[in-house]
Symmetry: D2
Subunit: 254 residues, 4 copies
């Protein structure tokens, strides 16, 4: 059961959680002021969208890189300049990777960054920044505090590398209990569904969580916000061709 691609996980764990943890992770490690800073965010999926929205709101000037034209066009419509990394690498104060890809920031990019540039990863695993390429004799590493290294070039230029390129939000921030609750509920329901499912419903394969369960997870968390859901009348349910208790959207809906 692929819980990672369920709507609640995608939106809440990735988008909404990262919107907050990118700020938190950067503050706790570097005390950087966001206002007026130039930032490049590599990748405009849910995590990238969250990072960009938060930094824009705090007064940063944000550039985006993307490989997927649909996400690229979304970045444009959301007010971000879509660039190739090399176009802005000399001028930015912060570089954030959230692509799920490997070698997105390589030694050649790091060589061209300006003094004091902060480099960190919000994507997955530790492949996005080629940290191994910084383990060469001419560069000096200085651990300035937990999770923060200064990598020093022969000319004195310093790059501030966070969490050695591992995930900033896990290493240097915290995960709110609300998000943990969403994720844990989703996982628990997936297990219950697998356990209770009549033989044959699931074969040897990977499945998305049924929409209805995703909706159930969400509905369990609404009272936290004192949020009041509207119920369909019989007439409306019939008009829409829906069951009054859901699911309300097709499985592919995001």
């Amino acid at each position: 059961m692929n819980v990672n691609d369920s709507v609640t996980k995608q939106k809440f764990d990735n988008l909404y959680c990262c919107r907050e943890s990118i700020l938190d992770g950067l503050k706790r490690t570097t005390d950087v002021m966001f206002g007026g800073k130039q930032v490049v965010v590599c990748g405009y999926g849910e995590v990238g969208k969250g990072c960009c929205a938060a930094l824009k709101a705090m007064g940063s000037i944000v550039y985006v890189t993307e490989i997927d034209p649909i996400c690229a066009l979304q970045a444009c419509m959301d007010g971000f300049r879509l660039v190739k990394l090399n176009e802005v690498i000399r001028q930015v104060d912060i570089v954030i990777t959230c692509t799920g890809n490997k070698n997105v920031v390589v030694r050649e990019n790091l060589d061209r960054m300006k003094n004091g540039c902060i480099v960190c990863n919000m994507g997955h695993s530790n492949t996005e920044i080629d940290v191994a390429s910084l383990r060469t004799p001419e560069l000096t590493w200085e651990r300035v505090r937990s999770q923060v290294d200064h990598v020093i070039w022969p000319d004195g230029k310093r790059i501030v590398l966070l969490a050695e390129g591992r995930l900033l939000n896990l290493s240097c921030s915290t995960v709110p209990t609300f998000v943990l609750s969403i994720t844990a509920t989703t996982q628990a329901l997936a297990l219950i569904e697998l356990y209770n499912a009549p033989e044959g419903r699931y074969k040897q394969d990977v499945y998305l969580l049924p929409k209805k369960m995703d909706e159930y997870v969400a509905s369990l968390h609404l009272p936290t916000f004192d949020a009041h859901l509207t119920e369909l009348s019989d007439e409306q349910a019939k008009y829409l061709g829906l069951n009054k208790n859901g699911p309300f959207k097709p499985n592919y809906y995001r």
Copy 2:
């Protein structure tokens, strides 16, 4: 070929276009100032998200109603109070429907609105507001300008009904050429695909536009924004298990 549910159509025509046309439609018809106004938006799909974001940005206080707990939770996380219509109907200055449902605003709601309340529909067709219920002898209709009616209660209360409950964005605003271009390109590509498809690819059914075409539509519009797409290296494409030319996302991705 279901073009309406393709990503580009959903996001660009609905979300990004409505973000602008809700403001435009309200201004052209009523000259209302948005700052400080209380607004309830019924429905938090793409259209509702666009309306809410725009009005929040202009300084309105926005309430949301929803039937789907996932969209409801998104409204919460985006900073909107999730309410039932009756909780706020007496205090709001503007009521906007974008549910795709019928009878979302009925006579009972209209009776309770305050003097001067503006009522309009951004959803689909003209079913969302029960306009027929306002055609009763005790209410007076006054056409104050094109697309704007005052419906007057016996005690003098006036409701400002826009476009007689039909679509505000079509009736009272304009559709930007950019959005038309996105939609027309999507439709044209769908027709070309159907024409060129080898026999058997499509049966008597409704299909979503293949992801790759959706991406192609998007890529054709990037130069408008002087946007520069990043290309995958061979090594990266292999790592991600993707073709360098896309599709970059699974078909269900939104």
Copy 3:
């Protein structure tokens, strides 16, 4: 009595009103889509701040020019790149002047704009754009609709000039009744004060409206928003050294 520099006039007429009328004026004249557009705003006073905030919220990428380092630094902290006009003139889709200065956009700038660039003025009078410089034989003017001229270069390039460089918000938008009410109330109170003032309070000079009257104007408009003001307790007023009925701020407070 200098009503123009009173806080309510400055903030409400300039900042909050222009935040809405820049969008309205551009839409009614050009139907331009704001998302993804590059815009340069000349001047970051109250009017410029309003224009920038609105366009940023609609997904435009906004650049700012300024002469005053304090306003310039504010633009930076609010997330706008501070540039000289020539740095971005070739790439922007919209140019907006709000400086109160003259010849901010001159023929040399207009010559370098790209095809289809929209040029308009939100500042004061009609001096900011050097429109006279466009009245030369090699340029063709085409009136495409009320308040909208295409100025056509010999190579076919078209600049979209709005309201012939006069005020966009007055020519192509409307002023909300709320803002009119604020301004009219301020003026009326100023006249009453002058009429009632004991001889000698005002000499042959220009005065700012007394703070207390500014506050009174504001308090008269709070009920519109169903807004509830908190009152100082006797103990709190004493602690702050204030009269319970105001004025609450020094005269120079903005």
Copy 4:
């Protein structure tokens, strides 16, 4: 020399700095998720404006209390419900004081808050929250971590009190070097001015920093943002009646 009321100090130290430190202070102490939370901010001066803007951007629903009708009207136009504290005290998740006043949050308010409500002070000194009123026998204090106390009511309700009501931004966050630099430069220039001033320029009194120095402080910090200031031409300076090197604004300008 009153440095505290200079524009740069007011805007940068208070507005822009607090916009970031309210988020930072809350995260470091409580790991609270901001999305969907209901917050009341007491006071809508520069500090309050910064707190409100940051929390709204992170998806909180923010209510404001004010005593000054001008600031109150600004809160309305910025999209915040203006309430009396008692109207929302039962429903909010976070209470933030930034009034500069005393006893803004008293025992009666604390008694009515809901379980888990976070209470903190961003204003001045430690007078805003009546912490002394919580030192009564029936309430239990539990220090859960540095700067964080749980105050426990007999029925088990817990209030999360930060920094014992002292300044959150100083106690639980950090001040960015950029803001320190602005403030220190302002102070140093004030001292230099006092030292160099010809006898008689300053009497035994409190003065605002001359505008020109405020502008000089700002101009020294523009290169940090790679910001390019525009210079007035001779013709423009003459038109505006200004010296080309400033001051560009009257002393009372904010």
